[in-house]
Symmetry: C2
Subunit: 130 residues, 2 copies
């Protein structure tokens, strides 16, 4: 059974106060700074549990680090990340959702989940003069 411990709520609260993705290590550091000393292993365990319950989204940075963010209350969406400066824009994919379910059904797959991430070069990073 899941218990409500101070460290578990501390992690949840930290996530609640953030808009974007953070790594387990960053969250751990953040908690320490705020006086909430929580073990690194516990941060990992808690994030894992939250991810399983669908309370947080997980994705991988290009270098393989896992980053977490509380599930957007404002609905499911995806990201467009600048490969140069890391600027992130949240986007919605009305068509993509439907497409994913449709494709899955056509292959006789159920419980379809999808990962869609876009990367590009943002206007600020585009070489000047063009």
């Amino acid at each position: 059974m899941q218990r409500m411990t101070k460290q578990r709520s501390a992690v949840s609260e930290a996530l609640a106060g953030l808009e974007d993705f953070r790594s387990a290590q960053q969250l751990h550091e953040l908690l320490r700074e705020h006086g909430n000393s929580v073990g690194l292993a516990t941060v990992y365990r808690t994030l894992q549990a939250l991810a399983e319950d669908g309370d947080v989204d997980v994705l991988r940075t290009p270098d393989g680090e896992a980053v977490y963010r509380r599930c957007a209350q404002d609905g499911h969406h995806h990201h467009l990340v600048c490969r140069s400066c890391g600027r992130t824009v949240e986007i919605e994919g009305p068509g993509v959702e439907a497409w994913a379910d449709q494709v899955g059904a056509a292959q006789e797959f159920t419980a379809i989940q999808h990962t869609v991430e876009l990367t590009g070069i943002c206007s600020d990073c585009r070489p000047v003069g063009r």
Copy 2:
């Protein structure tokens, strides 16, 4: 300047003979089995170089391992993977490609790249009786 060495061509050849994604470790093992003894570090370096040149695609497995595949000559496509047994189906996303470019352009991003992966439970793994 890039030189052509036997290990470099060995890696390329190994990739040429494969359809799906393999990790650096798997490729390393594969090469050893075929008598092409190549250092693990070299496999990593070569794959990195190939990825930079856009000759291979890289993506991350859910547990963070990097997997590589030669760039599909047969056109860009995505995967639908069974979360239970790992069975993989290749799928095409006519609409998704267009959607990605469109969304990117709307945000003033250029050189858009996208990652789209679907997971689900395949018919073989679905609980019987329903």
